[in-house]
């Protein structure tokens, strides 16, 4: 069975992609958040611009913060967003 992941975007990431979420298939070798970002950046100019500068992005895997090296394992949802600015 092919692994898949729901990716959810917030704030300017969502606006610049024009997309609030998408489901992606995880091919062989896509093990970490970093691998997913590389896969997204490879999609073309718009994606590359957003996902190649990972210092500007933050990540949550199944609603818990992760870092680029965090393994996806059986997570269902990856959220990608800018640093938070609430309060």
């Amino acid at each position: 069975m092919e692994r898949s992941l729901n990716i959810i975007y917030f704030a300017w990431v969502r606006e610049r992609l024009g997309l609030d979420q998408e489901r992606v298939a995880l091919g062989d070798g896509i093990e970490t958040i970093s691998d997913v970002l590389t896969m997204l950046a490879d999609r073309g100019a718009g994606y590359a611009e957003i996902f190649s500068d990972i210092g500007k992005l933050r990540f949550a895997l199944d609603q818990d913060y992760g870092v680029p090296g965090t393994a996806i394992e059986s997570a269902q949802e990856l959220a990608i967003f800018p640093p938070v600015t609430g309060g």
């Binding site: 704030a11 949550a60 609603q63 949802e77 800018p82 640093p83 938070v84 600015t85 609430g86 309060g87």
Partner: protein, 147 residues
């Protein structure tokens, strides 16, 4: 007792403060953040990550309860479109000791600013729209509690 609320509705500062006070102790600290009029701000829009927000706020409240002797913690954060002068966030902590109440209230705000999944987009009176960027001073304030 932990109370977490996230939504568009406004909150009643006095009622929330008394609710915390009613849980015991005699020292109640609170912080209210409002949309600040800096001259040409028209409104603020608060986006959040619904599936994660309450969980993240609850974790912050639990961290405060494990660090200070508190009777109650309330965290309320609004989302959606807010005009200048409107309430954004309320934190109330209740303890037997004023230091515990005030410090934990400060801790919760510092952590909330850097950990809770909210994003602010501001609209200026000239129509310009901008996502607010993370402030280095907020990151420092949050990190100082980990020493």
């Amino acid at each position: 007792m932990i109370t977490i609320q996230v939504g568009e509705a406004d909150f009643d500062i006095g009622a929330e403060t008394l609710a915390v006070a009613g849980q015991g102790g005699g020292a109640i600290a609170s912080f209210v953040g409002q949309v600040r009029d800096d001259g040409n701000l028209a409104s603020l829009e608060l986006e959040h990550y619904p599936a994660m927000t309450k969980k993240a706020l609850r974790k912050i409240a639990e961290a405060a309860l494990s660090e200070w002797p508190l009777h109650a913690v309330t965290i309320i954060h609004r989302v959606g479109k807010l005009a200048v002068g409107e309430n954004i966030v309320l934190v109330v902590t209740g303890s037997d000791h004023r230091e515990a109440a005030i410090e934990s209230c400060s801790f919760i705000m510092d952590r909330l600013k850097t950990v809770a999944p909210f994003w602010k987009k501001e609209t200026r009176t000239d129509g310009a729209v901008k996502w607010i960027e993370e402030r280095a001073s907020d990151v420092e304030a949050s990190e100082k509690w980990q020493k």
